[in-house]
Chain length 217, copies 4
Amino acid sequence: MEIFESDAYQAVLEAVEKAEGRMAPKKRLAVLAALDCFAEYGYDGTSTKLIAERAGIAEATIFRHFPSKRDLLLRIAAPVVRHILTPAASREATELARQHAGEPRLILREVMLSRLHFMRVYEPLVKIVLQEILVNQDLRAIFEREVGGLFQQIAPIVAMFGPKTDLDRERFFRILGGLLLGYHLQRTLVSPDHGWSDEEEVDFMVGLIFDGLNATT
Amino acid sequence: MEIFESDAYQAVLEAVEKAEGRMAPKKRLAVLAALDCFAEYGYDGTSTKLIAERAGIAEATIFRHFPSKRDLLLRIAAPVVRHILTPAASREATELARQHAGEPRLILREVMLSRLHFMRVYEPLVKIVLQEILVNQDLRAIFEREVGGLFQQIAPIVAMFGPKTDLDRERFFRILGGLLLGYHLQRTLVSPDHGWSDEEEVDFMVGLIFDGLNATT
Amino acid sequence: MEIFESDAYQAVLEAVEKAEGRMAPKKRLAVLAALDCFAEYGYDGTSTKLIAERAGIAEATIFRHFPSKRDLLLRIAAPVVRHILTPAASREATELARQHAGEPRLILREVMLSRLHFMRVYEPLVKIVLQEILVNQDLRAIFEREVGGLFQQIAPIVAMFGPKTDLDRERFFRILGGLLLGYHLQRTLVSPDHGWSDEEEVDFMVGLIFDGLNATT
Amino acid sequence: MEIFESDAYQAVLEAVEKAEGRMAPKKRLAVLAALDCFAEYGYDGTSTKLIAERAGIAEATIFRHFPSKRDLLLRIAAPVVRHILTPAASREATELARQHAGEPRLILREVMLSRLHFMRVYEPLVKIVLQEILVNQDLRAIFEREVGGLFQQIAPIVAMFGPKTDLDRERFFRILGGLLLGYHLQRTLVSPDHGWSDEEEVDFMVGLIFDGLNATT
DNA sequence: GATGAATGAGGTTTCATTCAT
DNA sequence: TATGAATGAAACCTCATTCAT
């Protein structure tokens, strides 16, 4: 139970409550336990019985609040993707661009660090989304729409970094996503005990992005 | 059935047969169908009944050839990761480095294109491994060992690209992996209809890696 | 909701209120919705959740007013069978026999029409009783007792139609019941769109009963 | 188990096997137990667990042979209604009409006795069909089509009994059905201990039908 | 009087796996 | 080698019912 009090879980809970409204106590427990189990065993590898046990509630209680297991997944994952990813990311990027106007390296650095922080906070959910997005059409659709929207909103900022055509801006945006995802997977899944310093790694990546290997190393 | 004749499936089949020896016809069908289903629905989302139906064989026949469903997964995924990923990749990288000695950009370009080609050929398997690696300890262990080994073997080539310390070489290796994975997911999962040109995308990435944004665009 | 205002439902409601006393508004809604659902899906095929939804009330409200689902069924079905079937039928038959003394054909005709009218009015309940009587001992007991009592009370009228022995009177009574039930099922369940004229059908049946096929047709 | 050896169950089994082909032993047991339970408790009142227990097989075995509980019901009830009711009844009626040509009373008597015998033999199934027909659209559709077909085939025989118009023939056919059903319900459900003599009851009914009450009693 | 929340028991169905043939 | 038949365990979900508010 105490696990549930970590930042990672509270952040997801808040996002879900933004969509569901104030939730009954046992409904909250169901959400937290589901989040925990899905992240650990995957959606299909998690039984509703397990969720109920981990939440300390009756299995039937889950179904009072969510019509189906699939629905439970979507009602947990969607709000984070929907309400947090796009608006928060674009608002933040805009703000950072304003603060550090004229210093693109700093902007990029801060944006990357903030996105990595976000992924850390929502770590279990990132894992779930990553897993399910490969097989779940609904989740994929939500994700694609949001990412598309995000790009539209921060394209001007991307432009500040140099890419002159729309195509190149898209490429840069994609590459940035790939870099962040790749690094996040490394630090959380592949080598969680490596003693990562986000700052150092981001500095390396920013250097690479702006100056290339030749200048960097 | 005809789906099974695509390159993607034949390549996996070959890899599996390298480990299993020549397989009985229905065993091959089982492997192909399992590959297909796992890629579409994930391991847990696939029932042995579904595999049997898609293979046009009896469910029991699967268990004649594989002691369990989990074993079926590993005996499909492991050989590709084990026998193909590391030796093939390192041999190929070495060969390319020799061919284009003194032209690091060309080496990187060819290595990236070749790795992307490999991921395309083994597309369903890449999807399966990606999904299962998040929850399956066995597969994760195999994967990590292989990737570690691969780095050891091609570290000298990485060094040719500039990074001077071991730490920086690891970083570069990781970043490269992230870029390739990110791009592969884009072209196969997120926007499969986008009309991608691997050459152009790789050229952009190589440019970025060597010269950075400032010079590239 | 407006469905509930049909004669069929109001008649049952009245009968139930004769036993329950004036009912709270939501209790009435529960009764009406239960009647509706039981007739449509059968007792076992109806969940209390469905009843609550159709009534627009909370599931728990049903249990405020009725200790159990089974009780709900009996408290709806019993009054109609008990308070309406026997006394009303026998009173009416007696009255009709008095009115049309010496004209047995007319008496029978009016009795049959009136019973068919009754079954039409209580149509959903007839369906419920018919269904449940096949498996529900309680309801069967109530029904049998009432039908037995009814026969006792109208035996003299049956005698007017000709049957001389008790045995023959019983037979006639049974046959009459079979005819009415058979016709009612036809017009409501099997071919509800046939455009039935109760008068014409009853005239045919009365003709058959008194004169037989030879004379009738 | 021995219950299953009664004529009633063997007759249904035969009819089902005509549609299913030779059945595996446990499939037969499943059919017999389902028949038994449905007749006793109704479709919804019967759990698949109960069926399995009564059949002495595993619950999962039922679902190996029938995709769903609903399917099990239909695959038991439909063949009897479909393959037995219409062809058998019309063939038999035709044969009886030939045998007793010129003696309509005898024909009717024999037809009625034979239909009552049929209903006795298929008693559990008659009960199931009667119950389910009230709420199950599929079964109702099958039943209506068959009864319609039956009427078409034996209309000439009905004509022999007197009714001159098509409308009157239909009426007579319906009335006959009502009489038989009413009597069958009496003797099996309402008063099974009454000591019924089908012959005597049929004689009374035939008398009524041909001569009417006036002449009969 | 009414209800939202909760649940234990049980529903149908699916699962991976075994075995006789 | 291959399979049809079989199954115990467990899956997701629904049930009638209780209770605090």
